[in-house]
Every structure is written in C-alpha cells, then in structure tokens.
Symmetry: D2
Subunit: 282 residues, 4 copies
C-alpha cells in the first residue's frame, strides 16, 4: 500500500551508512552540519568556516541559491556563493552541503558540493528527484512542510529508484495551525522514519523552530529520539544576517553547545568525537 520498497527497513539488513570522502553519516558517530543560512560574503563565510572547522565539525552548510517566499528578498550570491563555498572548503577542510533549487541547476552546483540538499519546497518535485537519482553524490532530502512521513519516504524512493542510494533524510518541521514558532518540529518522525527505513535521519532544529533559544533543547531532543545527526544554522553576526538571523546560533556559543551534545550522544549510544579535521588529498 505504501509503495516503500528500496527505502524500506525490510529491504536491507543494516542501517545505511553514507560515505562522504573520509566521513560517514548514519554510523555510530553523530553527524554535525553547521553553517550560515546563506552565503553572504567571503568574510562572513570564512569566519564561520574557520570557527566550525576548529571545533572539528566536518560539514558546513550554506546557501548560494536561496528559495525565498518573496522575489524581492535576497536570493543568494549564486555562482559567486558557490565559489566561496569551494574556497572555504579547500582552506578549512569542511565538506559542503548546499541546496540545489532545480533540475536546471544540478550541473552548476555539482562541482562545488559534497552533499546536494533538496529543500522542503522541492520535496514533491518528482522530476527533480528523478534527476537526482542519477547523481553520484549524496542527497540531503528535507521533509516537505506538508509531507506526511510516507510521502517523505516515497520522495527518497524516487532517488533510490533512479540509482542513487545515498540519501540522508532531514526532519525540519511541518506547517501546522500553531504560529508560536516558525514550524512544528515533528520529533516523532525521527524514530518513526528509522523504524520504516534504513536511511539515516537527521534533524534541523534551526528551521524546525525558527527561534535561537529552542535550538539546543530541540537538538538534544532529536538525539534522544534517535537522530543520526543535526543541521544547525550558525552565524558570526546573527543580527546582521541577510536571512534567518533570529534562528542562528552565535559562533561563540557553538563550543559550549557541542560539549552538551556530546554528552547526549554518549547517552544515546552514539559518539561525537569531532577529531581534528584531516585534510584529504584532493
């Protein structure tokens, strides 16, 4: 009935572990992805990249193409932003997670990204998902803001069916009647998705709540519920951010946060070792 086949728990003996260079997602080590909502400038990005890599965090997020509700809002630095991401990646050793907005942009984004992100607004863009099935890099698939869990997993099924098995699911909050917070983070979706599928599931408490003070408690809750990792917005100057500053962590507070997360990881049977970043021979 639900048409889950390749993504189904029954299809595979073990949890899927996604290899990204020398790093893995879905194994014992918790995956942390930190970075700004949008790439805004060389200065901003390198400060954040440096801060993030000094903590041993392996993955940096950052949007070069931004899907904005209004056409008059900042749309991202586009190609320039992608180049900055690449330079930051080379210099600081962080792997890049960045959003692809559309089939037509896959080719452009591909060389600059280690993981291609599908945003929640594209979670039912099936033509795009089919194209991503042909890509040989991992896909971070956000849940649509009005996708059921089954619809989210079927979106992943599209990618796997296309030949790309490296899909990371990401719970980022759903749209409900309650506007106290930006989205309602559906923490139960984490253990439920892991019950139904062998794919790794991470959580995005920044998008999921839209409120800085809730990011740490919701990160802890996500790990406690079984998440394989977290995607967290961090900014060197949140007050000056061109988008979503109110939900971004201060770079300075990340160190403290990481040590709190490490304790939770340990309790939840995971590790958060964050060894010093090893520069890979490129």
């Amino acid at each position: 009935m639900s048409d889950l086949k390749l993504v189904a728990r029954q299809h595979k003996e073990h949890n899927s572990v996604i290899q990204v260079g020398q790093e893995t997602i879905g194994g014992k080590e918790l995956c942390l992805i930190a970075g700004p909502c949008a790439v805004e400038s060389e200065k901003q990005l390198f400060e954040i990249a440096k801060g993030v890599s000094e903590l041993g965090i392996k993955f940096m997020r950052g949007g070069a193409y931004k899907p904005r509700t209004s056409p008059y809002a900042f749309q991202g630095l586009k190609k320039e932003g992608l180049k900055m991401l690449k330079r930051a990646s080379d210099e600081c050793g962080v792997k890049i997670v960045t959003e692809v907005l559309d089939t037509s942009l896959i080719e452009e984004v591909y060389p600059y990204a280690d993981i291609l992100q599908v945003g929640s607004r594209n979670a039912k863009n099936y033509q795009f998902l089919k194209e991503l099935g042909k890509v040989d890099k991992p896909i971070l698939l956000k849940r649509g803001m009005s996708s059921t869990i089954n619809e989210w997993l079927l979106a992943a099924e599209y990618i796997l069916l296309g030949g790309n098995e490296n899909v990371i699911l990401c719970e980022r909050g759903i749209r409900t009647f309650d506007t106290s917070v930006r989205n309602t983070m559906d923490i139960a979706a984490i253990p439920l998705a892991k019950e139904l599928s062998h794919l790794p599931v991470i959580a995005d408490p920044s998008q999921g709540t839209g409120k800085r003070s809730l990011v740490t408690p919701m990160s802890l809750a996500s790990i406690a519920a079984g998440a394989d990792g977290l995607m967290i917005e961090v900014h060197n100057e949140p007050e000056e951010a061109l988008s979503d500053g109110f939900q971004s962590m201060y770079l300075d507070s990340m160190k403290g946060m990481v040590s709190v997360l490490r304790e939770q990881a340990k309790l939840s049977g995971r590790t958060l070792d964050l060894e010093k970043i090893r520069k890979e021979a490129v």
Copy 2:
C-alpha cells in the same frame, strides 16, 4: 510587508483579462476547463475532447507528465501524451492546459500547450517560477497545498516580475487535519485573492474535494463566491481511469452540469455562453 507589487490590486486599474487565442479568461464570460486527470490513450482523449468541444467548452485539461506521490504509480504518457493533446486540440478546436513539472521540461511542453499549468507541488519552486516569467504563454498557477494566500500571490509575483503578466490563479484545496475529503477547498481564498490582486482566479473542485458528488455543489459555491472559472476533471470511463477516477465527472453528466452552472453564472453577473467553438486559423 507582504511584498505584493505587480500582482496587487493597487497596481492596475482593471481586472486582468488573459487572452488565449480568441478566448479570454478573467472577463465577463466564465472560463471552463474540462478534461481528464491524465492522458491515457488516443481513444480516451479523443472521446473526451469531442464531448467537451460539443458542449462548447473551450479549454481541455489533460496531464501528459503526472506528478505522483509514488514512483510506482502511472507517471503519464509524456511526449506521446503531449502529441495526443495537440492532435485532439487541432481536431476538436479545444485549447490545451497541461502541467509542466520542471524547468527542464518547459521547452518540451511549450509547443503543445496553450496554457502551461504549475501544479500545487511546484507552487514554491521559485527557480521554475522565474523561468516561467520568460515564457510567452499564459500560466495557470495552482495554489500550493500548504501555501498561504500571500505565498500564493507572491508565487505569481515571481512570474510577473520575470515579464509574463498572463497568470491565472487556481484554488485547488489545502491540506488540513480533516481527511474526510482529499483536500479542504478554501472558497474564501477566491474573493480574498480577488480583493488583493487583479489577476483572474479560478477553482478546481475536482482536486479540491476528491469526491465526484461534491464537484457540482463546490463549482456553484466557487462561482457564487466570485470565481472567474472552473477546472473540472471529466472522464469517458471514470471507473477505468488510471488516476483520480473517483473525483472525475462522467462525460454524460457534463451537459446537465453546464446548464446548472450557466444559471449560477448569470446570477453572479457572469455569462457562460459556450458558443460553438470557432476553429482559428493556425
């Protein structure tokens, strides 16, 4: 605050009237678009096209590329379906409304369609909307299943800002807690969108309810609330339909429905003349 500019009621003195060949949408004459959910075969399509055109209905819908929740569901006849639509259009004189799934398919669909449809799953695919702003054919923009009215209008703003002023808004139901019907049709969105914007607004009671018995009452309600037209799924054999048969009207019952709609149109200050289709010199 809402960033509505080009689409805003204040931007234009009169309601926008979209010209499609010799037909118009948004004027006094109500616009009817009828046809199958998906193009399934030559026989099916031509029977429907013939039935529809005999009633004087000027626009036929029909999906050649279908966005399906499951990758294992019927995905449409694609290029073959587009060709059938074109032949039906030529033979029966109906104008074609068909969905484009993605930026990458605009070029393929363009020659076969009179109006390009953006489905609700693409209602926040901003890269795609930008591309549609460069197209010189009208766009039928469905409301996203979790789009607020402001978000829906801002999606249209993207298209107008790109240079294409010919946008038809289409309310097709939103996603709510109530699963008694497939979607919750937001009839109030019709007068509200018309209050806020000069663009024509039509309604899709087939998608909006997912239940055949509700299509006529919801069509009447839409016109009574001020809709500029209706998009209605009709099938020669609903029980055999490859998708959405349960919400499709029987071809045989369309005639009766049209005369009921005509009376409502008249009461609501509109016409539904449905004169004999004039073959245009192509």
Copy 3:
C-alpha cells in the same frame, strides 16, 4: 465504522425539519439568524433587534455568556444579558439563539433561549452533549475548530441518543495553517454533512472568515453549496463592538444583503420570503 446511527441519512426517509414555534429550520425556506456577537447593552441590542425584525428575519443571535481566549477579555453580561435578550424577543418577535457554555448553565439559559447554541470550543464536551440530549429545545451545534466531519456528526449523535432530535449543524470554519483569515471555512462540509445526515446544516460566514468583506460572498457560496441557512453577525456600530466588530455586518447593509441572498436562495431551490414577523401568543 463511523458509528453514525440516529443522525445518518439512512436512518430517516426525509430531511429533518426543526420546528421552533411557528418557524422551521431545514425546510424549503432558508433560515436566517442575525445579531451581535455579544449582548453589550439594552440600547445596542434593541436597535439590532428592531433592525433585524423589520427585515423579517425570524432569529436573533446574541451571546450573554462569551467564551473568550483571555480571562481579561469581556466575558459577557451573563444573566443581565439573558434578560435583555428575552425583552428584545418579546418586543420585536424574534426568536433567540444564544450560547450555553457548560452543563452548569443549561438551567439558567434555558428559559431565555429558543435555540441553545453549543460553541465550537464545546464541540467535544461529551458530558455536556449528553445533558443537552435531555433538553426539549433545539440545539445549534457548531463544528469544533478541529473536528472532522465524522466527529461533528458523532457529537450530534450524542444529543440525539439522549432523546433530543432537534439538532441544527453549523459549519463555522476550521483551524488550518493559513492565518490570512480567522478560520478556513470548509464549504464542502455542507454538502458532505447533508449527504451523510438528515439534519439541517447552516453556515456561519462571520466566524468562518472573521472579515466583513467576505461575509456576503461566503454566504452566497454556502447557499449555493446547499446550506439550509446562515448565521450572520450584525451590529449597529461595528467599530464600537466589544468583540468581533471587524467581522460584523453593518445593520444598514443587511437589507441589501438580504435581497442578494433571496436571489441565490431562489436559484438554489429555496425561498427566503421573510414575511412580516407574526407575534405568537405566548
């Protein structure tokens, strides 16, 4: 499965017609209920009652006990308000529809009301619904703001099972993600409830939209979709209203509205004769 028995369409050959003195609800004549959100003063109430009765409208709404989200908001005139309603009813010949908040208030409200209203916040207060089953006056049962159609009908089932067959269902909008309007009016619930049940179904476009400019189009849409009547908030001075003034019609504009509704009623196979109010021998 759905446990609908006494309220089910199958249970009864004909539509239920509720008798309220010499008036009926659910028959050919459309039922109009108009009046203020809350009873605020003798002057306000009598002006409205006079205006309403002069139009031939038979039922007046008015809250004496108000369920308010904040304990610091105006809670209604309570007993004093009930007495004013009774005097207005006696003087102007209108029948009174007023809300009962709780089992403990049934006895107090009973003598002053012709129809007891159950608000949407009480739509799942089953103990209260059981008590209302023992009352020998009609119950106007609003749909809960998060009640499915089945849950709404089962709430009515509680009342019928208790022995009171005189239930009028009232669609008043549900709570969804879209905050463009106060509630999302679920017009499809009207024909669907009438398909499933023999009980009369009316609509409340004032609560349902929370916006004056939408009240007339949504009233028309409700009738077009098959509603048996309308409940409309009207105020002599909406700008001064102690609650919900922004969604109240001006008393002055009711006359014009009524003649528009009458035309729609006629088209929808109903009447809206609004003969001069006959004073009944009490």
Copy 4:
C-alpha cells in the same frame, strides 16, 4: 498583547513546584504518572497499581469517565471506577490523577482524586476552567489538540485567576495534516512553555504518538527538551484494553524503561529516584 499575567515567567522569581501530599511536581525530581487509559476492572486496576507502585512511581493515572468520540464506545465505569481508584490508591500508596469531564462532575470526582485532569477536549471550556480555579487540588491541564501555546497558557491563566495556583501543564500532541501517528507531539512547546511560564510542564507521549514503539524515544526527547515529568499509559494486558491498547506500554517493560529514563534525567540535570513509596497518614 498575550494577556499572560499570573502564569507568566515574569510574575514569579522561581519555578512553581506543586505539592501533592509528600510528593512534588516541578522540582528537581522528575514526575512520573503511569497507569491505564481507562479503569476497566478491579483486577486490571490493582495489577497495574501494584506494578506501578513497586517501581516507586508515585502517581497513577486512570480514567473513570472517558470522553469518547462515539457515544457507542466504552464511556468508563464512572462512580464505580472512581471507587476502585481510591481503593487502589489506599492499598498501593499511589496518588490518583483522573479526568473530570465537566463542571457538573467536579464534586463527584473531587474526593477520589489527588490531581484533577482537564482533557484536551476541554482545554477551551472556560466556564469549567473558572470553576477549577476554586478547587483546592492541583489541576493537570492538557493542551487542546488545536490550542496554540498562548491559548494553552491562557487556559491556565483562567485557573490561576480563580485562585488555584497549582496547575501542571501537559503537552499531549496537536492535530495536524499528518495521520502517520495519532497526534503530532510538539516537543518544542515544552521549552517554549517553560520560557514563557513558571508552571511545571510534563509530556504525554502515549496520547502524543498513539504508538507504543514511539513512547520511549519520545519520553527521552521530552526530558531532553526540559520536561518536568511524563504521563505514560501502561496496561497489564494491552491487547485486551478497552481503549488505546496500541499505545499502552506493557507493565513488564516499565522497569527497563524507568532505568533508561533515569539516565536521561540525570543528564538533563534532574533526578528520578523513585524511592519506595511512603504511606502517608491519611
């Protein structure tokens, strides 16, 4: 704007700690409330009470009056059920949390309960909340299934304003479009409510998810997010339960669960000592 006064964080220097006999809720020790959805029989209740008290759990839940969607579903043992709860309480030393359905039942339930529960269906029954303000026992206030966080806190404000300061907030899931689980548990509501208010906040992962396999992960997530306690449905024979068996924990598995929760509590700066129950002099 939000009208939060007595419940507001600003109103009080410290977190409220509710005293229930010799036990407390809202202090360092985490509060556990376990028991069946409904009281079904003496045998069932005493087995559960014994099991629960042997684990050192101080509070037992159990419904004697059940608010059921259908009038044909089991409505609870009522007065008989209350008496059984009292006997179980006396014999096993557990404190009783049980739901009051209505103002008219406060007096009946009062002598049998240590904490009076307000169910989610009554979360906006303001007349009832006012009456509970006059009661001298603690109130466990469930969040309404469509209550915003502000509405939930304002419901508590009603009770405090009436004179009863002993309110425990309980997050139990909200109603959203996703029907994969019974409700969408809004974990972010826990830290947010604690940010806005000094009242204790507990979570109900049984109602919140409706799925046994999710109860432990969501319990952990709730504690990690800062909850002051948990309410968990447990049954001696879940398969035979008259209501909600599919979401009830097996009594046998509670011991293991408790030790997992204890570790999480410790990490989250709380304790879960569960010392042997002390029989109080009654």
